[in-house]
């Protein structure tokens, strides 16, 4: 194990002028005016001014080595002193992990309000600490943090924090008007540079204590608390990857506008945009070319408040040389993790070492999901199910969207259309298929709805603050105050006017520090809705208990859950979400502090509920909103995409970015959610999706015509059927890859550089980056995202390997660029030579029906060695015994001329075959 060491650099790098390549933005369909840009948000605007201040090169913070103290959770801390203050106010915490990671946190030593920290275990599990000792140099006053592997074998630096001295940390403060007059010289926010919100030149004081946007005013009784820092990726960095979720390219463009992380329900999102979407995993992957060596590294920014990240280059053409990113978040603590690599495999392993490993999904979750907004009745559901059977098309799961409910009170049924839901789902179960129902987190305000009553009575709803002005208790009447009195006019003939106190002493008015809290009410599907505080473990416990089969009537143990709208979506809220100044009763935390984790807590509560509902079963939850660590609980889809070729293509990059963020059970709605795809687009979308979407779902908007595979003309239907049959045939490969993900942290689907880091084409070849992606280490897929009228052939780049075989006809191709003539029956896809692919050739109506069928191994020989290798993983496909008891079969398959099968790598503890049989 390599361990990184931490030391403080010996020199301060001077910031060089940064030039950006400007982007021409496409015509808008999404309403940009609804969503904030960096410039429109006060903390990001302030931060931009902060980092362009002329005196930026001057070091501001000093790490005090003599203050080193061990941390209870491992690692150690230092106090950090601002150059313009006497006492240190910040605490820098360091953890060095054995897998090759450094975590650096900065927080306040004695904050005026609690700075929100994510509870331990929610995102970061405690990885094993460094085995090696840490050496740190006594070089106080230097504020560059460098990371490198420390075992002497690959000691070249690849990541630096604060190299451009952009650190900003705004401590909580008392509003100026509440400071006693004699304290002005001490705190002196107007005369001494402290941070972006306390700067002698008054960089930007707008929006410190309240901030209007889009007709809402964000009350900020706690004032500014943002933080920011820069990170530099050293060497020649051809491409950066990651930053899910954005509808952007795989090789992240260096936009003028920073990438935004603020989980939002964005209506009709656009492609090639840094705008925020539904979820946030703020991770950057970098490729560094260091001399003759190519390595990769990762950088993670753990903060659930609104976050912006700007990618920058030193060079005017925006290519080559090092790459930089600056980050700024609205509140919380500064929490970063550097994953030093050096291979993509180690970066992935380091990420999962930090955030935990994902669970094996049930095999059925990798099959075809059939969804629509909405199947309208029990009969409708039965018809869709039987039509799949009529044409012998495999599928595993049928879904119901919001219309199945009684007036959008989730956990209930529309009795007119679904009078007997239990029977309906049992009929699905009888065919060994599954059922997914939508349950959104907003709660209908309705006295008749038990969930509403119970959550309200328990006090679990997020609160709204009714701000009011009170007399400032700190403002006392000066001792020398002379009350102006009216002297009666002796000459008056009328009685004197009533004396109304004008001119008398009055205390200042300030916001009431303990204002009234009432349940926050927003507008969503059901009309007036309330939003539970899912950050509260007690609320999550309650929520989870609602999925019990005796509570959630009409469901059975084959029913799983879809959490939509969990950003949360609030139709009448600012930016269609919850106001930042809403209060979570759990710890009286402001919503701004936890916003990007709201969705995470919702789907986690659902997952834990399903776990309790059916002990031993593998839960399935689909979520739209997510955060770092969501992979432990939930599948993710890329939200409400469009039936457009551009969205088809973008899904390749979006899926790739999500898998680099640790989320492997991901996919986009096949065929697009909005609008209606023509037959060719539908076919192309399926052909791509069956090979690269781990989560394969067909979904459609209420207004669109039906688009189940069987509604098309026969040719189209047969093409879709062939695609789905190929998916089912390849399920053993998918399942084995998911085992690699769950056990060895390997993304199931990944950009080409992950497997072919030494092939520079995978860092910079446009086709290789944006049109192609790998399924495991064996299959390369090239998406076709144009109609045949515009594209008759595709240039496929096959990376350096011992050769490639077409998945469709077995034709052998040498590495390099190949022109591929297109037809409508397939898209280019190639198995890497030297791999053994596990398959099942009997295609049945669902994956469960295929569980006892024999395997087929396709062997794609390495032409030079005549050998091939592969893996096959088998368990009972649906329970947790693979984890709890270790009942599984994981084999390496080693095909050579002399030996056909390799050795069993994982021994089953009991008669595996018997268990597998009896469990079905």
């Amino acid at each position: 194990m390599r361990s990184p060491s931490f030391y403080l650099a010996s020199e301060i790098l001077s910031g060089s002028p940064t030039l950006f390549c400007s982007q021409v933005l496409p015509a808008a369909a999404v309403d940009r005016s609804k969503f904030r840009t960096c410039e429109q948000g006060s903390f990001c605007r302030r931060y931009k001014k902060w980092i362009s201040r002329p005196e930026r090169e001057k070091a501001l913070w000093t790490v005090l080595p003599q203050t080193r103290a061990p941390l209870p959770e491992g690692g150690f801390s230092f106090q950090v002193k601002h150059v313009n203050e006497e006492t240190p106010h910040l605490l820098l915490k360091l953890n060095i992990y054995a897998s090759g990671m450094v975590r650096m946190r900065i927080t306040e030593i004695k904050p005026l309000h609690i700075r929100h920290e994510i509870p331990p275990g929610d995102v970061v599990s405690d990885p094993p600490p460094a085995a090696a000792k840490v050496s740190e140099a006594d070089e106080s006053g230097k504020s560059i943090f460098k990371f490198a592997t420390a075992d002497g074998t690959a000691a070249e630096d690849r990541t630096e924090l604060n190299a451009r001295n952009m650190l900003n940390f705004e401590r909580y403060r008392t509003p100026k008007e509440r400071l006693p007059p004699d304290t002005a010289s001490v705190a002196a926010p107007d005369t001494v540079l402290l941070d972006a919100a306390a700067h002698p030149n008054g960089l930007d004081t707008n929006g410190l204590w309240e901030e209007p946007f889009g007709g809402h005013t964000d009350q900020k009784p706690r004032g500014p608390a943002s933080l920011g820092m820069d990170v530099s990726f050293l060497g020649d960095v051809p491409s950066l990857f990651g930053l899910p979720e954005h509808a952007t390219k795989a090789s992240l463009p260096f936009y003028q506008e920073p990438y935004r992380f603020f989980n939002l329900d964005v209506f009709e999102y656009e492609i090639d945009e840094p705008m925020a979407l539904y979820g946030a995993i703020p991770i950057i992957w970098a490729i560094h070319r260091l001399g003759g060596q190519t390595v990769s590294s990762g950088f993670l920014w753990i903060n659930p408040s609104e976050t912006f990240v700007k990618l920058e280059r030193d060079t005017p053409d925006g290519k080559g040389g090092p790459a930089h990113a600056w980050w700024t978040s609205e509140s919380g603590v500064l929490d970063t993790v550097v994953m030093v690599g050096p291979t993509p495999k180690t970066v992935s392993a380091q990420f999962h070492d930090l955030t935990g490993h994902g669970p094996m999904p049930g095999l059925w979750a990798l099959g075809k999901h059939q969804c629509r907004w909405n199947y309208m009745s029990e009969k409708d559901v039965a018809t869709v199910d039987s039509m799949y059977d009529k044409y012998d098309i495999p599928y595993d799961t049928i879904w119901l969207d919001i219309e199945h409910t009684d007036g959008k009170a989730y956990f209930s049924w529309n009795a007119a259309a679904f009078p007997n839901p239990k029977q309906m789902i049992d009929n699905i179960s009888a065919k060994r298929r599954k059922f997914v129902n939508v349950v959104d987190p907003h709660i209908k305000k309705d006295e008749k709805f038990h969930v509403y009553r119970e959550v309200r009575d328990k006090g679990f709803f997020v609160k709204k603050v009714s701000y009011k002005q009170i007399d400032d208790p700190t403002d006392v009447k000066p001792a020398d105050w002379v009350e102006e009195t009216k002297i009666p006019d002796p000459t008056a003939t009328q009685p004197p006017e009533l004396f109304c106190g004008e001119g008398g002493w009055h205390p200042r008015k300030v916001n009431d520090p303990t204002p009234d809290l009432t349940d926050f009410e927003g507008w969503c599907w059901p009309g007036t809705s309330l939003y539970p505080d899912f950050t509260d473990p007690a609320m999550r416990e309650y929520w989870g208990s609602q999925f019990a089969l005796d509570k959630y009537t009409g469901t059975n143990a084959d029913t799983y859950i879809w959490n939509d709208m969990n950003e949360p979506s609030v139709f009448n809220g600012p930016e269609v979400t919850m106001p930042r100044d809403a209060i979570h009763p759990n710890g009286m935390v402001e919503h701004r502090d936890v916003h990007n984790m709201y969705g995470y807590y919702v789907h986690r509560a659902t997952f834990e509920g399903l776990q309790k509902r059916t002990p031993g079963d593998r839960p399935f939850v689909l979520t739209r909103s997510f955060f770092i660590g969501s992979h432990k609980y939930s599948a993710i889809w890329t939200g409400d995409n469009y039936a457009q070729w551009s969205h088809l293509k973008a899904s390749i990059a979006m899926v790739g970015a999500l898998t680099l963020g640790g989320q492997s059970l991901v996919g986009a709605d096949v065929g697009g959610f909005f609008k209606h795809p023509d037959t060719e687009m539908t076919v192309r979308w399926y052909q791509l999706a069956v090979l690269i979407y781990p989560f394969l779902r067909n979904h459609a908007h209420l207004e669109t015509p039906r688009r189940e595979p069987y509604v098309f003309d026969e040719k189209t239907m047969l093409r879709i059927k062939a695609s789905l049959q190929m998916r089912y045939k390849m399920l053993p490969l998918w399942y084995t890859l998911f085992h690699r993900w769950a056990s060895a942290a390997e993304p199931v689907v990944r950009p080409l550089f992950w497997d072919f880091l030494d092939d520079p084409q995978t860092h910079e070849n446009e086709e290789a980056l944006e049109s192609q992606i790998m399924l495991g280490d064996s299959l390369l897929v090239h998406g076709i995202a144009k109609p045949s009228s515009e594209q008759s052939e595709a240039t496929v780049y096959l990376p350096k390997a011992s050769g490639w075989y077409s998945i469709h006809n077995g034709a052998f191709k040498a590495p390099g660029a190949h022109v591929h003539k297109l037809d409508l029956d397939s898209i280019p896809a190639y198995y890497r030579a030297g791999t053994v692919v596990p398959l099942k050739s009997r295609i049945r109506r669902s994956s469960a029906c295929m569980s006892l069928d024999p395997f087929t191994l396709n062997v794609y020989l390495n032409p030079q060695t005549g050998a091939a290798k592969g893996r096959l993983y088998i368990d009972d496909y649906r329970t947790r015994t693979y984890q709890d008891v270790g009942l599984l079969c994981a084999r390496k398959i080693d095909f050579t001329c002399s030996a056909r099968l390799g050795t069993r790598t994982h021994h089953a503890k009991a008669s595996f075959e018997e268990t597998l049989k009896s469990s079905h």
């Binding site: 209506f267 309208m376 060994r432 049959q725 009997r842 109506r845 295929m850 569980s851 079905h920």
Partner: protein
């Protein structure tokens, strides 16, 4: 390069005597091939592509590209359309896809598609019910078939009669026109206003709202019609259109032509009137310069009264009404004169609004009349779901240009006619936003093939054919 791995062979039950799952009734070639293989001779795949050793047949490994070598196993699942035949003695036999064999789901009542003891045999139990169902259906189809023949005979006469009457009435109208035009030279063609789904763009009352909706989230958009900021729904559901028109009464009939004839037509005037009020409020200011004079106090039918001899006018009105009704009837028999019996038929069914009217957020679950006039209009409560728009295949009817859904497309409906002894409305469902489908049973849809298929099915249940190699 494909071979079966025995890492864990969790396979199919061992090879059984091959009649299981094979059916030879219609596939003599298949029979011969299997007979040959049972004698140890080579087996030729049905598509002729490959010749196999006899031991390769039903050996739980798919050799033929068409899947024909494995009638008893699932080895060719997903590949073969030849399938597996369950004999289901005592009940109806059944063809299955090979993918259903040994998949853990009992598809055959005799359990033959799953390993022995995998499924309890239920043919004895379900057989009588299947038989009863088939017989009842046969009875129904026979009745329907008889009625259909009767309608075919009667239809011929009826259509001739209608055609003659139509010509006569058309001549009458022409005559009356001459009189009327002479009487009322000064009365120009009028612009009229009426209720319809085919709104013309400038008067589309939702135009502005549509613009607004662009700005809001998907969800806001759906919530809008009932939110306090959104337009009130009832004002959305009434749309007005303007066109050139001569006679108000026949417009009214056009909008509501139904089997009840003129009475229904007059009933519609109420809707017309309310619509006009909406129209006046919303559209009038931009339309006043048109040659349309109106007085608030005058009722619509009076407003359009031509200034001519009252008796001529009345006669004209009546004649035109009858003519219109005939034209509508004749449309019903465009395809085949046997459909004449449905020309005046309307079917009614009470159903929950929520069940079919998804597109109205927050609609109550009141029960509303769904009224389908087969060659006229479809109404659900007071909402027009479309008017007859032609045939869709042999047994399909299309209805289009219904009222627009709030913010959505114009409502439309497809009817599928099924064979039945009586005419009845079975189901109505919204398959996508404002697109509905319904099924109607009626004798005219009975085909000879229905009877033949049923007889076939019955025969299979009653007289089980002996299998050639059933002795094993």
């Amino acid at each position: 390069m494909r071979f079966v791995v025995f890492c864990i062979l969790l396979g199919i039950d061992e090879f059984q005597a091959w009649p299981l799952g094979a059916h030879f009734g219609d596939l003599s070639k298949h029979t011969q091939a299997f007979e040959a293989s049972s004698l140890g001779l080579p087996f030729q795949c049905l598509d002729g592509s490959v010749t196999l050793l006899s031991s390769d047949v039903n050996d739980n490994f798919c050799d033929c590209p068409d899947g024909s070598d494995e009638p008893s196993t699932a080895a060719c699942a997903g590949l073969s359309n030849l399938g597996f035949y369950c004999r289901n003695l005592g009940s109806a036999p059944k063809w299955l896809y090979a993918s259903r064999v040994n998949d853990g789901v009992c598809d055959c009542c005799d359990g033959s598609d799953e390993p022995p003891s995998g499924c309890p045999s239920s043919c004895d139990k379900e057989g009588p019910a299947v038989l009863a169902r088939l017989k009842a259906r046969q009875q129904e189809v026979r009745q329907g078939q008889l009625l259909r023949r009767q309608y075919e005979d009667e239809g011929l006469q009826q259509v001739v009669h209608w055609t003659e009457e139509k010509e006569r009435l058309a001549a009458d109208v022409a005559d009356l026109m001459t009189v009327q035009v002479g009487d009322a030279q000064s009365s120009p063609d009028r612009a009229f206003v009426g209720c319809s789904s085919t709104s013309t763009a400038p008067f589309y009352t939702n135009g502005h709202d549509k613009e607004q909706r662009k700005d809001v989230s998907e969800y806001t958009r759906w919530a809008l019609p009932v939110s306090e900021t959104g337009p009130h729904r009832s004002s959305q559901s009434v749309e007005c259109w303007v066109g050139e028109f001569i006679n108000a009464e026949s417009f009214c009939c056009d909008a509501s032509q139904g089997p009840q004839g003129r009475q229904e037509c007059w009933d519609e005037v109420y809707t017309f009137q309310s619509c006009c009020k909406t129209w006046q409020r919303q559209v009038l200011p931009t339309f006043e310069r048109q040659s349309w004079s109106t007085s608030e106090s005058v009722s619509p039918e009076r407003r359009f009264e031509p200034k001519s001899s009252k008796s001529v006018s009345r006669e004209m009105r009546q004649t035109k009404g009858r003519l219109f009704s005939l034209e509508s009837k004749l449309r019903a028999v465009e395809r085949s004169h046997r459909w004449f019996y449905l020309a005046d038929t309307c079917l009614t069914r009470q159903t929950h609004r929520r069940h079919t009217e998804l597109s109205i957020p927050g609609a109550s679950s009141e029960r509303v009349d769904f009224k389908l006039c087969l060659f006229g209009d479809v109404r659900f409560g007071s909402v027009n779901y479309g008017s007859f728009d032609g045939w869709d295949g042999e047994h399909g009817l299309r209805y289009s240009r219904g009222q627009h859904c709030p913010g959505g497309p114009a409502r439309s409906l497809k009817i599928c006619l099924l064979c039945g002894a009586e005419t009845e409305l079975l189901d109505i469902a919204e398959v996508s936003l404002c697109a509905y489908e319904a099924a109607v049973k009626t004798p005219g849809a009975c085909e000879l093939s229905n009877l033949e298929e049923l007889a076939d099915d019955l025969e299979k249940v009653i007289d089980r054919p002996l299998m050639p190699l059933d002795s094993s």
